[in-house]
Amino acid sequence: MDKKMKNSFLNQTPNSEHRTPNSPEEPRIVITGLGILSSIGVGREEFWKNCLLGVPGIKPILRFDVSSSRSKMGGQLPEIDFKTFIKPANLRRMDRIGKVMVSAVKMAIDDSGLDLSKEDPHRIGISIGTGLGSSDTVDQFFRGLLKDGPVGAQPLLFQTAVPNAITSHCAIEYGIKGVNITFSHKETSTEMAMAYACHLLREGKADVILTGGGDELSEPLYHVYSRLGALSPGKEKGFEGMRPFDRDRNGIVLGEGSGILVLERLEHAEKRGVKIYAEIAGVGLSGSTDGVLRYDQKGNSLAKAMSQAAQDPSIVDYISGAANSTLDLDRVEAVAIRKVFREKAKEISVSSLKSMIGEFDGSGGVRACGVALSLYQGIIPPTIGTEHLDPDCDFNVVLGQSKKREIRSALLNSCSNGGSNISLWLKRYV
């Protein structure tokens, strides 16, 4: 450490006093960079173009054998030439999900115009959410162990099998020495990572935090969801696909991908003179207790999360839904939206990006990027696949085609099967 850097990690901003998280005088947190790898596009531009066109990312699974499962579909990433994003020598230590995450971070940093050589590495952090991280590597490691006993346990696989390996890869690749954390709590993993990042930035514990997360679709993961009966069933038992809020919805289709956001305090972004996609203005965190394999059943918990997050409900124009085409969650989300917004619920546009990219624990990163782009451009992507709105979900769902409208602010909802409910409130930057 040179002398100038010596205690730089102890810097506090003038606004670092503790306050309640959502009070308006807090330092404002803005989104200045987006990195996206999804089944409907790699990179912000391709993703957003296809998102607005309502392109389905769900297709028959080709990467691994699904013959033992009734369901056959998934939202898979295309083949990606990772050398575009990562030095070939460094690729060797990463597994597939590691490469996906590091690539998303690279795109987000580039998009934000952040020059890492000019930033203090101790003041840059990373906060990542993932449901199952390197599930494929864990499986490969375990198969080696089963086949050959202890000598079949491969150390190089083990070191990338731990859930925070994906975060470590990113930190090592870009020399990120500040806060470093990984959350894993089913479908709310990434939203928690983002909420925590906002808190640390408000407290002045970092200048910039890369946040979001992702997951990969792997053979063991697919098998587990299939055996637990969570998947949309496939042809013998009817339609297989995502159709959020539809009366005939029948379960999830798994997807994969990664979405990373660059967050910083407004004054830090202004000093750099960069574009600002949107602001994260509030977070709400709540828990329901209906069972370890149950979503919030009455909608009270999700309603509480939305109310905590949106300090001014009158300017919420869009809700990016948690709805994932399950009987329970879509209904509960509708109930919760009505609880919070009552008569105004009909004026709010609701859409579920999961209809295009499928459901996965770390989907919140990609979905948050989507909300940021909606606020930046005043346009909401459609919910696809849905034909007959469930009367219980009878509100303003954006169906079929994208919709241009004024969006002053939006909520990003997430609910985990087991009862963590998180809502983030994003505002148009003005």
């Binding site: 450490m1 990690f9 102890l10 006093e17 503790h18 309640t20 998280p21 230590r93 590495p121 101790h122 449901g131 199952l132 490691f141 162990l145 089963l146 006993g149 202890p150 150390p155 083990f158 070191q159 731990v162 859930p163 925070n164 390996a165 975060t167 470590s168 890869h169 090592i172 020399g175 990120i176 020495k177 806060v179 470093n180 954390i181 990984t182 959350f183 894993s184 709590h185 089913k186 709310t188 808190h199 407290e203 063991p220 587990v224 055996r227 637990l228 977070v283 965190l285 709540s286 828990g287 329901s288 207790t289 370890v292 394999l293 509480k304 905590q308 985990s416 087991g418 009862g419 963590s420």
Partner: protein, 407 residues
Amino acid sequence: MRKRVVVTGLGVVSAVGNSVPEFWNSLIEGKDGAKEITAFDASPYRTKRAAEVSGLNSQSHFSGKELRRLSRCDQFGLVAFREAWRSARLDQDPIDKERAGIILGAGSGGILSVEKYFRDFYQGKGKPSPSLLISYSLATTTDLIAVESGLKGPRSTTATVCSSSSVSIGVAYDMIQMGLSDVMVSGGSDSLCEVSFSGFSSLKLVDPESCKPFDKRRQGLTIGEGAGILILEEMEHALKRKAPIFSEFLGYGICADAYHLTAPEPNGEGVERVIRIALFHAGTSPEEVDTINAHGTATIFNDIAETRGIKRVFGERAKEVPISGIKSIVGHCLGSAGGIEAVATVLTTKNGIIPPTIHYEVPDPHCDLNYTPNQSIKKDVRVAISNSFAFGGNNVCLVFGRFSSES
């Protein structure tokens, strides 16, 4: 204004005791928790020992139906949670459960059950029960505790493995600072499983004999298991209901080495930074720290890097601050290590006794500090810190202080 946060409840399951009093007695007596592994067949391994939990008597805690669905990790977590909840008298005092949440740290989680499923599946032994797969998510233990206790506040799970349950305490503290809750359950649970045991063995990080932190003969860790749960509570809330207060949680630090996937930065620069960050946010200074609960894994590189980092922070005073390496007693409990060590650190501030580093005989010239060898010592403790370092150079430091209601 920063809210003051106190620890009002503690619960432990460990190889040396399945309750806080039993655990604490074993610590100060320096009892070795290592024994022959029974959780899985360890016969093909060079090391057949681990700090395994014994004598828990699951049937007295859970019904037969529950036991079919609960992983070993879930059971440890629930038992430790119940003790912590009772010790905080939260089973008696009515609280607003909308403002009580849970953040736990996880390591391998319920993977022992998942291993059982996939072993049978891959070896074609019939159709294993899908209930073994409930533990596929690291969130399961956290959700089970929330469902049992009806806690409706913020909920999540941290997944940095060897530092998971330390950072969970930090995140839980932040939930209180954010004004989202008054009471938070934190810490973690983890159980032995073959994947992590064989993984650490394959990296040659497991000592075939006893775990000897900071000793020149050290060859690595002994894997352990268990749960360590802490109830954090906003001070005014705790005082109002006249809750027992074990100590104050003053703050924490978190940072990264960004150096290597498994090895620590060798000069202790990351260790120095995380301790300095933690003390800064805790509003205290190295001069007030009276003891350090070390990460102390007894791997060659960790113990040197940690020693160097401590010297960089404490300078001349480094030799005067007793360091405690309790992984020599309870093993390295991975996802619950930080929680169990935090319980020990809280009790150290409360009782004024510093647990020893056992199996310490041969000094290493590279590790030349006071590691409290083999015998616990009595010492008045104002502030104690607990270090946890994970794969990827993920560093966490927790700061606890003796509680006094005047600031």
